[in-house]
Symmetry: C2
Subunit: 496 residues, 2 copies
């Protein structure tokens, strides 16, 4: 039954175990692997590589779409396999190695990895490791729950190792839209004017002669952690929904809104869930990842189409979607991440982008990645692709945490991922600040009035007032700008 | 002779003096004025408004394409006319008022003002003040030396005041390509795949009934200041040219390179001039402003086409270009700034972007706008539109200044306009650092090795080493990150 998933006869003798396949990896190779927000990642070959490294040390550069599941990044990091890693990760073990300086991490806008590969700016890919549902009769590949950078890895790699995942029904065929942008200087327009436009092929083309190994697996994707909405996420979602309703009243938007992008996490799920009981209708998504809430909204008839690069859902939702593909096939498409996240489409379609911040400051600069300016959490992911070019760029975070000892609204962020120029709306559980068309001093007062936790309001107002007294377009007291972070490190609290 | 520039007969009775025209301005109005990098700005109406305000106080919000010439911003600021100003300025007097908190300045990506206007996010334009070469028979407008945001101001304003500039030959007709992007959600592709594609009309359409005043002037644009290349700019240009040559050798680029964008200033002129005596040929520009060097390169046969939103040149070059329009018409086009700077085209065409920094830090974050994190110089302009979406994003600055008491390469920039994610190449007179595909710790060492002034190298290496000892993906010592700026303020030097 598994062999029927290899429809090109001559490839059947490439089947082997993961342990056999990892013999193709040599020291210092560049590996391009499928996987985007834990979806469609290598389930057996990369873990087998980590196993092998325990007795037979090896170091590689690993590129993926985005994050991997199954603690694979952690296993690889622990086994010392990773020399360089790009463009995204979410693993605790790997993160510690990165912060210790043991793994070099390149934190990249997700739309850009393919650009760098095609332009030969990063080293060429030696081996691609790609999860597929099956190999079609022409040797082309049917992806699974994500597309990510797989089409480019397949095109550029010297050797290709395939993981055929038999847990994915073959009816997944048709869920993907594989479009390849031309290389410079002969690049044409990407002819998408609405989220539901399909412009490419259904499979990933690859030269079958490059396929050196085929490994079977039936392991499912790591399920998404679905955290129940709490008081804070509910408050944030409610501020955003009220804001959307008001924008409709003002005539800025219609009840259809514009295509939505939502970063991964609780708040995005809470906002999308909030649409279920609203006047909004015929909504669409043009995002990078689809979560449970997307399929809930489709089922409830509120969302009519969703475009992304991966599907990352809970176990229950996974069964629902992949057991009913005929139902969702016309309502969902998965694209390469250089298409899902490309600046031109985000500007053209007028995306409403919602992403999570670690902290933001009184002028609207956002830190999405670093704790205390130094230690990375995950990475910038696609937030920059979307925020810079969106119709509306929204960032959310809790106002305060750890018994309100930490304020997430600060005099100055310790690391900038999104500048004031790219941030339209900031939201905490306390409230929402609409910063569009405001000068820095106006933005600051609005953020202090609307977003900061009451425990920190006077302290933040005092900073701003004293900075203004000294003057400037963006008043700051450089000697005090990081004092909140430093106080936290010294005393365990940002409070004076 | 001047009246023949009003080809729609019934508009001839709208001719009046600038002093008469400014009666249309009321307190609190929003004014949209032509002008981009001093080119094609209002020469008489806005100055007359500043005059009027001396005896008859008035406050307005002023939007333009970019900066104005003739000290107009300064005159308006001095007369207390400006309440809000967007999206760019370069005036000393206005800058001081902004930094004193007396004028609210909205520092915006230049591609975005039109988006905000069309989406009704910023207040509607009450009056447009547009410099034109003449009014065509259908009432449409022939722009002069810039397009900027004029087409949108003409479309959206309640009233339109025209300044017909008789110094501009009527043969300027055909130099402009006026394309209007559709509004959401019905926006189509912008069908440009090469700098020389013309996709729009030659004139700006306007409802003639909205034209309330026509004023004649023969004042020319403020000439660009052409500073002779000095030792530092020559060194920077030579590093960049050597880098391009090497990229060609590596096969990353051909001798035609890719379309060039160059910010205004000495370094851009020096780099472009350097192309004259090189192997590069058939070069093109897709930029926001064209300077003297563009026309020198066209004349020498190295540059075959240049697209931008304005022409800002010296007096001599102005005569050369506008006295020989038949020669340049097929080699130059001026577009609206939401087209010249639009993210999708910048990514599609693969722009090589060169812009100037005030300072940058060891991880590649760039400050383009603020002195000591607080006082604005000019504004971000188009640098962010280009840097984020370019094929290659280059930032230049001198390594040190003021007798080497100030280092422009720092532990941490005091304000971030361009994050490490958007910066590929950093150049000072000392050298060039290619940061592509590097992790933060690698970037830091490369910048210290290649870009910092020798007087500051040990001091910067010490910061980096001590930060690394403490750990982190992007090692920093928050308590010391701004110590160089603070030392400068206290002692007059950044040196320890």
């Amino acid at each position: 039954m598994a062999y029927e998933r290899i429809k090109l006869e001559r490839l059947k003798d490439k089947v082997m175990t993961a342990e056999e396949a990892v013999r193709f990896f040599k020291n210092d190779m560049v590996v391009g692997a499928s996987g985007f927000t834990k979806a469609g990642d290598s389930k057996v070959v990369l873990p087998a590589l980590a196993e092998r490294a325990k007795t037979d040390p090896i170091k590689i550069t690993l590129m993926t779409g985005a994050s991997l599941g199954h603690d694979t990044d952690g296993k690889l990091a622990e086994a010392g396999v990773l020399k360089k890693r790009m463009p995204f990760q979410v693993d605790r073990v790997l993160r510690n190695k990165i912060n210790a300086g043991e793994v070099l991490f390149i934190d990249q806008h997700l739309s850009e990895s393919v650009e760098l590969l095609h332009n030969n700016i990063v080293p060429p890919v030696d081996i691609a490791v790609l999860e597929v549902a099956y190999i079609d009769r022409d040797g082309s590949l049917v992806p699974t729950t994500s597309v990510g950078n797989s089409a480019t890895f397949a095109e550029l790699a010297d050797k290709v190792i395939l993981e055929i995942n038999t847990a994915i029904p073959m009816e997944v065929y048709g869920l993907h839209d594989i479009y390849k942008a031309e290389n410079y200087p002969h690049r044409n327009v990407i002819p998408i004017v609405a989220p539901w436009n399909k412009i490419g092929r259904k499979t990933i083309s690859v030269n079958p002669d490059k396929i050196v190994a085929i490994v079977f697996t039936d392991k499912k994707d790591s399920p998404a952690d679905i955290a129940e909405p709490d008081e804070k996420t509910t408050a944030i979602a409610s501020h955003i929904l009220k804001f959307f309703e008001n924008e409709v009243q003002l005539g800025h938007l219609t009840d259809r809104l514009l295509p939505l992008q939502a970063g991964i996490g609780k708040v995005a799920n809470a906002v999308l869930t909030g649409f279920k009981h609203s006047n909004f209708y015929d909504l669409t998504m043009f995002s990078e990842v689809l979560q449970d809430s997307t399929f809930d909204l489709i089922d409830s008839g509120v969302l009519s189409f969703a475009s992304a690069s991966s599907i990352t859902v809970s176990s229950a939702c996974y069964e629902r979607v992949f057991g009913n593909l005929q139902k969702y096939r016309d309502k969902v498409v998965l694209r390469p991440q250089n298409i899902s996240n490309t600046p031109g489409l985000i500007r053209r379609l007028g995306i409403i982008a919602m992403n999570t911040a670690i902290e933001f400051d009184i002028y609207g600069n956002v830190n999405s990645t670093h704790i205390a300016g130094t230690k990375i959490m995950n990475g910038i992911g696609g937030s920059g692709d979307f925020a810079r070019n969106a119709y509306l760029s929204i960032f959310v975070t809790q106002a305060a945490s750890k018994n309100n000892s930490i304020s997430h609204v600060l005099p100055m962020v310790s690391h900038v991922d999104h500048t004031e120029h790219d941030v339209d709306i900031l939201v905490t559980d306390i409230g929402l600040a609409d910063l569009r068309g405001l000068a820095p001093r106006e933005r600051a007062q609005k953020i202090i009035d609307n977003c900061v936790h009451p425990d920190f309001r006077d302290q933040l107002q005092s900073y701003f007032d004293r900075a203004c007294a000294r003057g400037g377009h963006t008043p700051h007291l450089l000697e005090e700008a990081f004092s909140w972070h430093l106080r936290l490190a010294e005393t365990g609290s940002m409070k004076k």
